[in-house]
Symmetry: C2
Subunit: 411 residues, 2 copies
């Protein structure tokens, strides 16, 4: 039998009360709580999907001070531990927050942990990527597909692997663009160059691809030379705003999230200047179902200048320049599956990553990948592919049959 | 040799000057002008596509007073006559205005004739339709397809007739909705009931369809009874805002244009209340590539309360309620072709229409149909089909292949 002072009893009661209050703010997820003193209790009557251990009172203080940021930092540093299925835990927190947020749309009382756990921890990773760009390609090679595509895949068939789904995504984009041999394509924000090379190799187009990352441009240039595509693909180590060529097709995959709302109309002006009147283009971006501001802390520390737009916000790229939006497809569930595949690959290599960096790094990335997956699964995050044409272009495809004929799957 | 007083010469010069000034405001279309005194001159050096005859100085005064409204009224009353290809004339005016408007996006100097000639004369006709609802079904039977579908058709194949393209549209909508036997569908604004009956007959769903027009509801109810569908389709003579059933699918074709921007969020709230969490819906509406206000005169006299939205404006239906937009398709060129087919049918019956009503009525409808066609052809008007689902619905179709398998073309 344990003997406690009355002060001890009061403190314990207060700890339980505060933790339960925090769980209420999170929408009462079906998890159990374990405290630093060994106390354990479920948050709801339902069977808990996992157990969250708070390893010290400091974790409670951090959660109170800044729910989202606090959780991310505490988990990364090991002040919070999750016992059981980690992705299931993150999914459950995200779902609970979504349920809660849904009820309080017009006047949310607390800053949502959601942002840090899903959307903003996604953004957070972008920052980490940026922060750790000297991590270099070796890190990404551990868990991306062989083509190093770091955007949403397209699982054309249910049995597809990640690598197959990334090729299917490249194909899906090429089909939507209705590429014809000899055309000029500008790609803004080309990553490691997979799409540029795919377009040149399989569709016979000439590509000019812009990227701010010197390391990626170096990698892509080497790859293009090795494949004998360097006469048709040019990688330019420049900001997209320096584009001054004219093109038949404009494409940008996963760049808009970094552009910032204030620059959307400027991006549209640039596209209008570049794109021939009978051309068209595609922008692929993470989005939201409704506008949501990015947390001040996130904007400052994690994702400077970036913004994940709703569709109405995306229209700021197109409407001021009278582009005609001809096709929008939402692939959010494909991105949930992509993140899940990345997370699996990452976990399989986590010991190696811990050796390369440290355990905090591994926990941060785990949270980021699981949080992104939960965001797309729950609908906190969306993935829009928007096909658009200059005003009055009557040469746009007549129906969307051309996207589904799969005329060019010869690779 | 003609002898003129110096006053006559001055007047003539002034007439020419004023007419040329008006043509400049319209963007100098490639037409020729014939004046009441027999003077004839081309506006540009290019070969004119048609000749616009101004049959009195009053036409000039009306064009100066209110360009769009003035043209419509003068043409309807015969104060202006078009010699040559009427649709080509309207296309050329619309194209000239679009070119001009494009150059002066941020500070248009004149009220655009465009509105009255294309977008607003479309709206105008809606008013006329409304105004002349006692025209009854006989009038529309003269030039619509046999199913009386008064919205954009879908020309699935290039050789399709209007009737085939309307059936293809019904099919396209049904496929997008992924209808399953036994489901409940709410249709808001059902016209003469073609879609409701098609869904019930070919997809085995139960339909509750709302319509404000008593005459259309009577017609549709009779049709459903004749086809033995009255156990599965209920036509309700009520405003869509009175919907209080729950449904698996929500569909609305060509109603949003009449709802008015201020009611968009209210419509979204109603859909959210009606639609089951695992359901989804489709809204089909005329739209614009960018927001544009409706002329005050038009709002007052022609299209009260209505508004043709841009995509960002359409999002006011979805974003406040966190609907996830899963698919947008723009069918503007299909609507240009639909209007062209309607115009052809109408012209073939114009003598009969003139006997039923009068010549002014015929000219008004001709202008409306040709103007709408030109609006869709030039891109002044767009046609959006938006598929959407409640927030977090993970039961939406995985890809769009299901829309292109054509599993149900057994009719």
């Amino acid at each position: 039998m344990q003997i406690e002072t009355s002060r001890g009893v009061t403190e314990r009661r207060l700890d339980h009360y505060v933790v339960r209050w925090i769980m209420k703010q999170v929408g009462n997820p079906n998890i159990s709580i374990r405290l630093w003193n060994g106390d354990e209790f479920p948050v709801t009557e339902a069977r808990p999907v996992a157990c969250m251990e708070l390893r010290g009172r400091r974790a409670v203080v951090e959660l109170l001070r800044a729910p989202g940021v606090g959780f991310g930092e505490c988990y990364s540093k090991g002040l919070i531990e999750i016992h059981g299925d980690f992705p299931a835990f993150v999914n459950e927190i995200t779902a609970a927050l979504t349920r809660k947020k849904d009820r309080s749309y017009y006047g949310p009382k607390i800053r949502s942990i959601l942002r840090a756990i899903s959307a903003n921890s996604h953004e957070r990773s972008r920052h980490n990527v940026h922060h750790h760009y000297d991590l270099g390609n070796d890190f990404y090679k551990l868990w991306l597909d062989e083509r190093m595509v770091y955007t949403c895949a397209y699982y054309d068939t249910p049995a597809a692997t990640l690598a197959e789904a990334q090729v299917a995504k490249l194909e899906h984009v090429c089909r939507k663009l209705n590429l014809q041999p000899g055309q000029t394509v500008i790609e803004a924000g080309c990553g490691w160059g997979a799409l540029s090379m795919h377009m040149a190799e399989h569709y016979g187009v000439n590509v000019i691809a812009y990227n701010l990352s010197g390391e990626q441009v170096r990698f892509a240039t080497e790859q293009a030379a090795a494949k004998g595509l360097d006469d048709r693909v040019t990688f330019v180590h420049q900001d997209y705003r320096r584009i001054d060529e004219r093109c038949d097709r404009f494409v940008s995959i996963g760049m808009l999230e970094h552009v910032g709302l204030a620059n959307f109309s400027r991006l549209g002006a640039l596209i209008k200047r570049s794109l021939k009147p009978e051309g068209f283009g595609l922008i692929h971006s993470i989005g939201r179902s409704h506008p949501d501001r990015t947390d001040a802390w996130i904007t400052k520390h994690i994702f400077p200048g970036g913004h994940i737009p709703s569709l109405s916000e995306m229209m700021k790229v197109f409407e001021p320049h009278r582009f005609s939006v001809i096709d929008v497809e939402n692939l959010r569930l494909h991105y949930a599956r992509t993140c899940s595949a990345w997370l699996q690959n990452f976990e399989a290599e986590s010991e190696r990553v811990a050796q390369m960096y440290d355990d905090e790094f591994v926990r941060m990335w785990r949270l980021y990948l699981a949080g992104s997956m939960a965001g797309f699964q729950s609908g906190t995050l969306q993935l829009y592919q928007v096909l658009f044409a200059p005003h009055g272009n009557a040469h746009v495809p007549w129906t969307r049959h051309y996207q589904y004929r799969h005329q060019s799957q010869d690779h």
